[in-house]
Each structure stands twice: as C-alpha cells, then as structure tokens.
C-alpha cells in the first residue's frame, strides 16, 4: 500500500527535484491523491475534465488497487498501470500523468500528451507541383497516423522500441506483413535491440547504427519526409523506421537508384518521367566529372581538345597565378563555403548575401585574375548539377573532389581508373542482403522498367525483384 507523503518525496527525488514537475494534490473521497506531470507535456484540458474531475466526483469508488480507476477515469486516452515506481516515472517523462492514491496499491499513468509540435506541412526539400504535400513532423504519433491513414489494413504493422539510455527515444518499425521480407524485419529489430547509446537525437543516428559500413561514403539507408513516398516504399516491400523527434523516416533495404526518384515521378506521364530521370543522371554526371575532367585536360591531355576550345581556355586562364588544380579547388571551396553560409545565415540577410556571394564575388574573382571565367562556369554548373539528386549531394561532392585530385595527378587515365574502382566498390555493397546497385549490377531486367526509364504503372505488375520478396505481385489484371 502506498503512503502518499513518503511516496511524494521519493518521486521528487527520482525526478531530481526538477522545476518543471507539477503536483496536484486532491481529496478523492476519504483518501488523498496525487496527480503529477511535467509542465508543458500534457493536454491540460483532458487531464482536468477526464481525470481530475471524475476522481474528485467518484473518489469513494476507489478500492484497494489502482486498477479500479479504469471505471472512473473519463478519457479515451491510454490508461496504464504499474507496480513499480520506475516504470511509471518513465511514462511521466514522455508526457504521461501519474496518479498515486494514499493507501491504494499500484501506480496509474494517463497518456494524455499535449506538447506543442510543428504542424503538418510540405517538407522544404521535397516540393512538388503535383501530388500530396503532407510531410512528416517531429511527433511520431502524428507520423504513425499519416501512415495509418494510407493503409487502413490489418497488414500494416507497427512495432515499438525504446532506444537511448538517457533520451529513451521512441522508435517504431513499420512494415506490411504480407509484403515485406520478414528476415529483414527481424535483422532490423535485432539491431535496434542491441543499440546501447546514451541518446538518439535524430533518425540519422539510428540510420548510422543500422548500417554495416560506418565509414562508407555511400549511405545505406533510405529516407523520406513524405508519407506518400513512404507508402510507395512500404508497398514495394521496404521496412520503415520512425524515430520520435525526427521528421525523416528511414527505409530499408536501400538501393542507390532510389535517390534518383522523385515523388512526382509516379504522378507524371511515364515518358516525361523518363526524360527527367535522364536529365538528373546527366546533371549528376556533369557535377561529378566536369571539374576533374577540366583539370585533367588542362594538366595532361590538352591534345584531346580542339584548337578553338584550347585557345579559348588558354585565353581564359592566361594570367591566372594558380595551377589548374589549385584554381579549381579554390572555386569549389568557395562554392561549398557559400552554400554552407547561405543555409545558416539569417533569412533577412540571405537574399542579399546570395547576390553578393554568388554574383559579385565570382565576377570580382574573375576580374581580379584570381579565377578564370571557365573555372567559375564549370564550378557553378557542377554545383547546380549536384542538386539534381539532393539526397546524394554529400556523396557526389566528395567524389568530384577526389576526381579533381586524381585528374590533376593522373589525368583522364586516373579518372577512368578511379571510376572503375568506385563502381567496383558500389556494386559490392549490399543493404540487408540486397545488392546496392541493382538493377544494373546484378542485372535485374524486370526492375529496369522503373530505373532510369519509367514504364507505365500498368506495365509494372511486380514489385522490385531485387528485394527478394515472396509476394511479388502488385498489379493483377481482371479476367
């Protein structure tokens, strides 16, 4: 049986006498009761009307165990019962309201969370012209609801995990049980259970802990901030990992080709989508190869250039005090710094600084003879091309730097060899048993219909074969 006064002292000590702890002492019938919560974490109205008021009104009905509250509390929020203080306080720390009654055994927690969170809005990096505009938020409950609305089916499964010794972050694993590869689900769950870290701040923490190659340049988890994209991935047999506090939902297994897709690809006409995907590929190609090749041609293989272009380059670079590689590195670093600064600077300065940085700096650098106009042009083209695939900007920008160094030292030969080595690395990667570079290597002919080219949805009756799913059929034709 609980002695309330002593219990209050123990609870306060367990919560480190934190100043955001709110105590409400009540008289419930002949007994004394305590309702305890963290300020700002609960829905005050629900607690007042659904918990406190019924407790006061019907307190005489409370018996020896706190479970009798089930018939008294008038709220549809979850009501949980615990025999130990520690488990109950864990719930309080995530937004629950603790109910302790003098002389009554057990602890009750009502999960009427009411903390403020960002409203559902379009994600900033996934703007679309056509298609849904909802985006995930930092609240995992909202995110679960957004997914559940798209699959009112008992096949949609959510499994909860708590990760982080101090942060106690709520992580949900979500999949369609009649579609996903259950071996992959088990592997993910097993890895989540093994995570022993002090805190999880964002889903990227979980992503890195679920990856096999920690230092790989290439990411091994997919991610999205859009429920419609996640729905497509779930239908394709992937497993989603929702992390409380992060609007980015992870998906596994991951194929590199996924980042070449856009949500609108599935809402546009297939031919238009094919053209756009080819443009993206070209954008990435230019972004990665252009700076390195330019340096390689200038440094080693100028004989490959026609005379007219060679004269243009010579005229452009005459008087520049730096070697081609130094010049290119200066330009690339300048653009990288500009990019970082534009993301972090205050919004009201952003436009002005972008003009200053992008136009004036570049023009001044050329006029001052520090950089050649061709170098600035190529760097600008390359930097813009990187954003054809926003999710791979980090990876491709490092690769283009590698190519600049290789092009300077070994010319086009070095770039070719580097490309071969990088391609070998990429084709050898696997994400939970799925080849990373499928459907190109290994060649999976049926998956090529939705790779760079995009066939009509009607001609894509099967799911992604590379994932090794048992339930392969997506589209059936009526007889």
């Amino acid at each position: 049986m609980i002695a309330l006064d002593k219990e209050i002292k123990k609870i306060k000590k367990a919560l480190s006498n934190s100043s955001d702890v709110v105590e409400r002492r009540l008289d419930v019938g002949e007994k004394k009761a305590l309702v305890l919560y963290l300020d700002g974490m609960i829905d005050v109205k629900t607690i007042d009307l659904g918990l406190i008021e019924p407790l006061i009104r019907r307190g005489s009905e409370i018996k020896e165990h706190v479970r009798t509250l089930e018939g008294i509390v008038e709220t549809s929020e979850k009501l949980e019962f615990f025999s130990d203080r520690k488990s109950a306080l864990e719930k309080v720390l995530t937004g629950g309201s603790l109910i302790v009654i003098d002389g009554v055994e057990g602890y009750a927690v009502c999960s009427a969370q009411g903390f403020m969170s960002r409203p559902i809005m379009e994600p900033p990096v996934s703007s679309v012209i056509k298609g849904p505009r909802e985006g995930f938020t930092e609240s995992f409950k909202t995110n679960i609801t957004l997914i559940r609305r798209r699959f009112p089916s008992s096949n949609l499964v959510f499994k909860s995990f708590t990760v982080g010794r101090l942060s106690r972050t709520h992580v949900e694993v979500c999949y369609l049980k009649n579609v996903a590869n259950l071996k992959v689900v088990k592997q993910i769950e097993s890895k989540l259970k093994k995570i022993d870290i002090d805190g999880i701040v964002d889903s990227s923490y979980v992503g890195k802990l679920l990856e096999d190659r920690k230092y790989s340049l290439f990411k091994q988890t997919g991610s999205t901030e859009k429920p419609d994209i996640l729905a497509q991935k779930l239908l394709d047999g992937r497993v989603a990992i929702i992390v409380d506090g992060s609007p980015t939902v992870l998906t596994l297994p991951f194929l590199l080709i996924e980042d070449f897709y856009d949500s609108e690809d599935y809402y546009r006409r297939p031919l238009r989508t094919t053209v756009i995907r080819i443009m993206r590929l070209l954008g990435v190609f230019f972004a990665i190869f252009l700076p390195g090749m330019f340096v390689a041609f200038q440094s080693h293989q100028y004989q490959l250039l026609p005379i007219k272009l060679l004269v243009t380059i010579i005229n452009s670079t005459s008087g520049i005090p730096f070697s081609p590689v130094t010049e290119m590195l200066i330009a690339l670093i300048l653009f990288e710094v500009l990019g970082e600064a534009s993301v972090r600077m205050p919004r009201f300065l952003g436009m002005a600084m972008s003009v200053v940085g992008g136009i004036i700096l570049g023009e001044t650098a050329v006029n001052a003879g520090v950089l050649s106009s061709l170098t600035v042009l190529i760097t600008a083209l390359s930097s813009i091309g990187l954003y054809a695939i926003p999710d791979e900007v980090g990876t491709f920008s490092v690769i283009r730097l590698i190519y600049v160094f290789v092009g300077a030292s070994l010319g086009t030969y070095g770039i070719l060899i580097s490309t071969i080595v990088i391609m070998v690395y990429v084709v050898s990667l696997e994400s939970y048993g799925v080849p990373y570079f499928a459907p190109f290597a290994p060649l999976v002919p049926s998956d090529l219909k939705d790779s760079i080219v995009k066939f009509s949805m009607v001609d894509l009756p099967t799911r992604t074969q590379s994932l090794g799913l048992k339930n392969k059929t997506r589209l059936r034709y009526g007889k």
Partner: protein, 370 residues
C-alpha cells in the same frame, strides 16, 4: 558463403568479354606479320581452340571447379594441378600488364612514367580481386552496358572503311603462314583457366522458370567467337595486308575509336571499354591466383597483395617495355603455357568425372548403368 560463386549469366558474360581484351592490342600486328590478310582465319583457329578448352572448363566448374579436386582427391593433387595454372596466370598477368601500360601510355599519356601507369592498373585489379567473385561478376554485368554505348557511338561517328576485296582470296598464301601465325600467338590463346576457380550458383533475382532457360554459356562463347573473327575480318578489310605496320591498330579504326564532336576528338569509346575490361580480366587472373595461395591458410586479401606484388615486380623488371614482354611471350615459354592451359582442365575433368561415376555407381546403381 565463400566468395567464389557467380551466377550463370555473369559466368557467360566473363566468357564473352575475356577474349576481347588482349587479342586486340599487340596481337593483330603479330599475326599480320606472317598471315597478312588471313589473320581472321588464324583468329578462327584460335577461337576454336579456346572453345575446346572452355568445354572442359565448364564441365569442371559444373562439378565444383578445382576446389572439388581438393575435396575429393586432397591437397596434393590440387596443388599439382593448380600450381602450374598459378604460374601461367602470373606470367600472363605480367605480360598483359605490360601491354595495358603500353596501350594506356600511347593513347593517354605522353609525359608520365610507365611504372606509375602499370602499378595503378595492378592496384585497381587487386581491389576488384579482393571483392571476390561477387564483385567480379557484378562489375562484368556493369561493363555490359558499355558495349551498346560503344556501338552507338561507333555507328554514329565511325569512320570505318571496309573494302571486302582486301580479304580475298581467302587463304591465298596457304596453310603455312596461318600455322606460323597461330604458333606465334600461342601465349595469347586459352585465357579461360581462371574460370576453374569459380563456381556457378542460381540467380535468385530471376524467377525459377527463367533461371535455367537461357543458355548463357554457349551463347556467350559462340557469339564471342563469331564477333572476334568478324572484327578481325573488319581489320583486314580496312588495312589489307598492311596491318602489322599500324601500332595498336584496332584502336585507330574510326568505328571503334574516334568521336568527333563539337568539343573535340575523344578516344573514349575504345579506351574506356578496353581498359575497363582489361582491368577486369587482370583482376580475374589475380583472383584465381590468390585462391591458390589462400588455400594455404593465407588470408585472401594478403594473397591478393602478394600476387599483385609479384606481378608488379615481374612486369616492371622483366617486361619493362612492350618488346621485352613480346619477346618473352613468343619464346618457347608459349608452348609450356599452352600445354598447361590445355592439360590442366582436361585432367581435372577426367579426375572429377571418375569420382562422379563412382558416386553414381555407389548411390544410384540403376542410373549409373543407363
């Protein structure tokens, strides 16, 4: 799972690509010296010989490759067969590295040492070899995409000028020059020995119905042979009997090489394709050689490194220029190499077949008699 397994399709693609590499660099001019316009007949003879070797190798691989020899006959028999193959692969890799270096230098580099070029090729090949059969198989599938690109660029911008009269009359000089040419090219014949160290598995990305339907291996082997003979015929129709005067002749043919565009002449189609597949071919030899060394409880990456070091040393010290490599390859060593390349697969096949028949008799006596 041990990293020696590839799918049937990848196996077929390796068979398709292997002949296209080192038979296109110095070999055309070597053959042209003696056989002149009949080099395509020499190539026909070469491809028939290679198909004969391939038949034994495929049969051995279906029974488990040379690893099956180790399992069924023990390590001594395995080493008796694999050691000569190891020596041959290392020698061939050293000569081919020298050829690759010369080719890359003549097209891409005028102002860099050949040592650097050669070492980089071996290092890149070593990296692929370390990735094992899985990496090799997948990179070969990726290389397949380069073929239509090269063909399209060649078709759009090619400057091939074929004069069928150059190839006539067929066999005008008799069998003698053809035989002499074939004899001088023996070192470059029979490159399929590394396949003895690969095993074939089912392609799980295909449905069971599709997995066994397409005959990848015979299609790849025969189409490779036809293409090789066809390309040599095209060579003759372009150069006639003067092919031996043109260094790296194939790469100079407009259809395969030069892309004239608004931004300049780019030798990319031939060089990209050739160098990529040359590196894959070298890495296959490195992989196979390392498999033999690693069977002595040496970690596989260490075995690859050791093999690479040996090849670098031999190619840099013994074959530091193309003439040295060429002299070695056309010396008596070519007969030893040919002998090993022919006898080892045949011997392995016979040994494994004996065990298979014995196994059939013991466990399935009825089927064994049918």
């Amino acid at each position: 799972m041990e990293n020696s397994y590839i799918t049937k399709r990848q196996y077929g693609l390796i068979i398709f690509f292997i002949p296209f590499v080192f038979k296109f660099s110095v070999l055309p001019s070597i053959l042209s010296e003696k056989a002149a316009r009949d080099i395509w007949l020499v190539m026909l003879l070469i491809m028939l010989t290679e198909l004969a070797q391939l038949i034994f190798i495929v049969k051995v691989d279906k029974m488990g490759g040379l690893d099956a020899i180790k399992e069924r006959y023990g390590k001594i028999t395995y080493y008796l067969l694999s050691a000569p193959v190891l020596a041959v692969m290392i020698l061939k890799a050293s000569v081919y590295t020298s050829e690759t270096t010369s080719y890359a230098n003549s097209y891409l580099f005028y102002n860099i040492t050949t040592q650097g070029v050669g070492i980089i090729v071996i290092l890149a090949s070593s990296y692929i070899a370390v990735k094992g059969a899985k990496g090799l198989g997948r990179i070969v599938e990726l290389a397949l995409w380069l073929v239509p690109i090269a063909i399209i660029i060649g078709a759009l911008f090619g400057k091939l000028k074929l004069t069928p009269d150059y190839a006539l009359p067929i066999g005008a000089n008799g069998l003698g020059p053809i035989a002499i040419s074939f004899d001088s090219a023996l070192f470059w014949v029979l490159d399929f020995s590394p396949l003895l160290f690969l095993k074939i598995r089912e392609d799980v990305t295909l449905s069971p119905r599709k997995r066994t339907r397409f005959p990848w291996v015979p299609v790849a082997a025969i189409s490779s042979a036809i293409l090789m003979v066809g390309l040599y015929l095209a060579y003759v129709m372009n150069y006639g009997g003067a092919g031996h005067l043109v260094d790296t002749a194939f790469s100079s043919l407009g259809a395969f090489n030069v892309v004239n565009t608004e931004i300049g002449s780019i030798d990319w189609p031939a060089i990209t394709l050739w160098l990529s597949i040359a590196i894959v071919s070298l890495s296959l030899k490195l992989f196979a050689s390392s498999k033999v060394i690693s069977s002595n409880n040496v970690p596989f990456p260490v075995a690859v490194l050791l093999t690479a070091l040996v090849i670098i040393v031999i190619s840099q010290l013994a074959f530091y220029n193309l003439e040295k490599a060429f002299d070695f390859a056309t010396s008596f060593v070519r007969y030893v190499v040919l002998g090993i390349e022919l006898l080892v697969p045949m011997t392995a096949y016979v040994l494994l077949d004996i065990k298979e028949r014995k196994h059939q008799k013991e466990h399935h006596p009825l089927e064994a008699t049918i």
